[in-house]
């Protein structure tokens, strides 16, 4: 009886944990703008078509990105957004 209770508890906790994870992701998804959602879906499709070595490389880069200091990540993001803004402007001018 004690064993069964323990299993039920562990199972319940596991379910709650999983639900919490999915819930956090779904909350984040909800908070994205339609444009951001579109970008995520586009990136996902691109990811699916990538060769496996590129996938692995991106995973490594992602791990490296996550280990970068917060301020450095922000700076790189800012630079990336600036470049993207410039590129969009150029494209509109053409």
């Amino acid at each position: 009886m004690k064993k069964r209770k323990m299993i039920a508890w562990v199972l319940g906790m596991f379910l709650l944990l999983m639900a919490g994870q999915v819930s956090a992701a779904s909350d984040d998804w909800r908070n994205l703008s339609p444009r951001e959602k579109d970008r995520v879906l586009r990136n996902y499709q691109r990811w699916q078509n990538l060769p496996s070595q590129d996938k692995q490389h991106l995973r490594d880069e992602w791990n490296r990105w996550q280990q970068l200091p917060e301020d450095r990540r922000e700076r790189l993001k800012q630079r990336y957004n600036e470049q993207r803004g410039n590129r969009d402007r150029d494209r509109n001018r053409d």
Binding site: R39, L50, E61, L76, K77
Partner: protein, 186 residues
């Protein structure tokens, strides 16, 4: 009932004293006073006689036979059982389920909680109308995955961005520049 004649009337001022006299609860002076009065008053004597006749009948406890008490006990128990049954009739409905109901109820609550968390207020719409917006499960697997696909373009260009960020130091080409085509900012 028929042999119970009404009390004879006594002198008003002696009525209460006569009752006390009957029970022997008046003082010696009172007793003497009453006895003197009784010697002269016929109606008070009649009243006292009636008291002597009637009061023992009133206080007599009727002895009930054992069968009465047995019956009384059975009826009381039956009434209590009936009352319990009526008051907690809903329990009878759940009685056969009691053994498995607690774990079953717990499981249902956990399942509702999980479904509720998974398909929150807005996501229920996605659940009901899956065609409206199909999100691949891989993206929604966890928060980290979503963040990855959100910033995939930056990750692809990470090496280049880092090189630009440190123009003075000799930029070491990282593997990120190797990703075919996608490594560039798109």
């Amino acid at each position: 009932m028929k042999n119970r004649a009404p009390l004879a009337s006594a002198c008003k001022q002696y009525e209460e004293d006569l009752v006390l006299h009957y029970y022997g609860e008046n003082g010696q002076d009172e007793r003497r006073k009453i006895e003197n009065h009784l010697a002269d008053c016929l109606s008070c004597r009649s009243f006292l006689d009636d008291l002597r006749r009637l009061l023992p009948q009133i206080t007599q406890i009727e002895k009930m036979p054992q069968s009465f008490w047995d019956n009384y006990y059975r009826q009381t128990v039956a009434k209590l059982a009936d009352y319990e049954e009526r008051k907690f009739s809903w329990r009878a409905f759940f009685a056969p389920m009691r053994m498995w109901m607690v774990p079953a109820f717990g499981t249902v609550v956990a399942a509702v909680l999980v479904v509720g968390l998974m398909f929150g207020k807005d996501n229920i719409k996605l659940f009901v109308e899956p065609r409206a917006e199909k999100i691949p499960q891989e993206i929604m697997a966890d928060k980290n995955q979503l963040e990855f696909f959100e910033s995939m373009e930056i990750i692809e260009a990470l090496g280049k961005l880092e090189a630009q960020d440190e123009p003075k130091t000799e930029a070491t080409p990282t593997d990120s520049t190797r990703v075919s085509g996608n490594a560039q900012i798109v």
